[in-house]
Symmetry: C2
Subunit: 408 residues, 2 copies
Amino acid sequence: MKLSPLAPASFPDLPAIDGVRLATAAAGIKYPGRADVMLAVFDKATTVAGVFTRSRCPSAPVDWCKAVLGGGRARALLVNSGNANAFTGKRGREATKISAALVADAIGCRKREVFLASTGVIGEPLDPSKFEGVVGAAAARAEPDAWLDAARAIMTTDTYPKGATHRVTVGDAAVTINGIAKGAGMIAPDMATMLAFVVTDAAIDAPVLQAMLDRGVRDSFNAITVDGDTSTSDTLLVFATGAAGETPISDSGDRRFRPLRAALDDLLRDLAHQVVRDGEGARKFVEVRVTGAASKRSARRIAMAIANSPLVKTAIAGEDANWGRIVMAVGKAGEPADRDKLAIWFGETRVAVRGERDRHYSEAEAAAHMRRREIVITVDVGAGKGRDTVWTCDLTKDYVAINGDYRS
Amino acid sequence: MKLSPLAPASFPDLPAIDGVRLATAAAGIKYPGRADVMLAVFDKATTVAGVFTRSRCPSAPVDWCKAVLGGGRARALLVNSGNANAFTGKRGREATKISAALVADAIGCRKREVFLASTGVIGEPLDPSKFEGVVGAAAARAEPDAWLDAARAIMTTDTYPKGATHRVTVGDAAVTINGIAKGAGMIAPDMATMLAFVVTDAAIDAPVLQAMLDRGVRDSFNAITVDGDTSTSDTLLVFATGAAGETPISDSGDRRFRPLRAALDDLLRDLAHQVVRDGEGARKFVEVRVTGAASKRSARRIAMAIANSPLVKTAIAGEDANWGRIVMAVGKAGEPADRDKLAIWFGETRVAVRGERDRHYSEAEAAAHMRRREIVITVDVGAGKGRDTVWTCDLTKDYVAINGDYRS
């Protein structure tokens, strides 16, 4: 797989975080000879929050995580690539129990403190005995600074590992947040994300962490789309080890809440953008801004109608400033919009205004913007004050090639 | 443009219908040297019914038709290809008035008895003076059997002209129904259709004809999708000249209503399938059947989630019996579905049952079905008794190529 032309220059330097150790292993689940298992081991005080796919057919690990999340505590995270353990029936459920038990035995914790995530092919039984040979050794050799290896082990069709890190002062403590993610296709909003795991050494109670996360995904992972398709396995987990040493944040009114939330929001947006930049076959990173909508919610729907339109996405792939297709997508969204007040910009170039072509616009200027790697489309729909922004990529022949021959 | 491999063997022989005459002309709207205008002239008794795009940004001709449809009478239909007269503001509205006046003058009727449809590029002003030189002559030379020419004149990215005809006995009269359509991309359901025009010599009052049409589109044009995108210009008009000579049907309880409706339903489905078979870049015609849903409406939503999924459509293009992506699409639909009762068939081969892979299924059999031109996907979602069927095509590199370079 060729590196996405939209990839960041390099993987950021993710520092060690007190309270978490990481290891990877090659369990031969699907890809021979590459690491396909990632184990994270957390200290005892670690709290956890999560959001998951809204698919009506969630994978067995998603069911598992949802069931144990209520405990609010995590001691381990086991992730595998190559097999999603989705649509695997009773055997799939058994596999999650066996996997959690293996990890619990290896590190000495309860099963319900073990979180699981799987990504890869749907419908193939996952053989949990594959983990037997590797989990114990992985737990033993886990180390604090294996973030790049961890990000690599969870990749499937990704062309680069995805990571982000932030430092922020929370009260009197210097706190670190690291995150890794995977995802390149089957990416759609309102369903959490693909797989993303965030760890901080901040101390924060689980319900407060959950509230922070629920809000954070709105304008990050829930505001991106590659193909409008939704995985059965989307999982975003945030772990707080508490090792930075302050008393835990137990209330969103705590003065330490806001700076931590701001840092988490930034990190989630960064990771979400990296997923879009690795969109299957993507050559353009596209920001879609909608203003003048009836509400933020309405703006989101219009923006997503644009971002998910195959005709808009192929036009962008063709570097064509085809604003007629933007009009089409706005119309299709079914949201309040005043056709005769509509205005559209490509970058800084206003191409349409008051419901018709802007007579003064320069086609050359618009075309120059379309040739860029990063495209900004702005639409004012003339119906109110709601605004929102989402991110997507173009739809290329490579997307079809990658997905027309994935299983074989 | 290469002929779609899914094209019918030939254009059917559409007989003359009493009460309508057709002509085409080359007005040079966009395509030099080809007929891009179609004029139909109807006898005085002709009633009309129509359904239109639900786009919030409809074209000027759609607005025009909706405004004059209430009259229930039609004397003429003027259609052009090459320019959609959509998102053209005040000038677009003026263009419809001028066009209707030109036709009304040429054939001696009222403007509000003239119906208009335009298809092509969005956002370019349509110069109605282009019609001036051609409408009078076209009206003069219109003839009853120019159906193939008419079907050709309304094409844009279509690779073949689309037509269908039915004969049915209605009361004591032998009635004919002819229809033509165009459409290859920007095709999505619940928004009427692309352009389709149907004429019958049956006699039927406009409100009864409208009721018949409203029901007829449900399982034909509203049950197809190529790319999930919705045109600003979708228009389906049915004209009944009454020339077959019976007293008009004025009530849906009339014993002649049902046979006529059945014939219209068949014809609409035939035309709708022809549109899918000409889907941009399509190589496979796909029928998606959903059973066991909570209701027909729910079954439709699940079927459409499958039919619109880029991952399902690219898998079909790759001849890959990737039923995991069907599970994904069912889950994404958000409708009631019992994951652990789900069953999936490709053709006659059941590949999944009771929420997991069917242990006895033959991959070779499933693969053989995927190599066919016509694919049938059946999904039972185990939640109730609702069922529905929709039709779509695969998503190929050619779709991207066609739409990545349309304007230039």
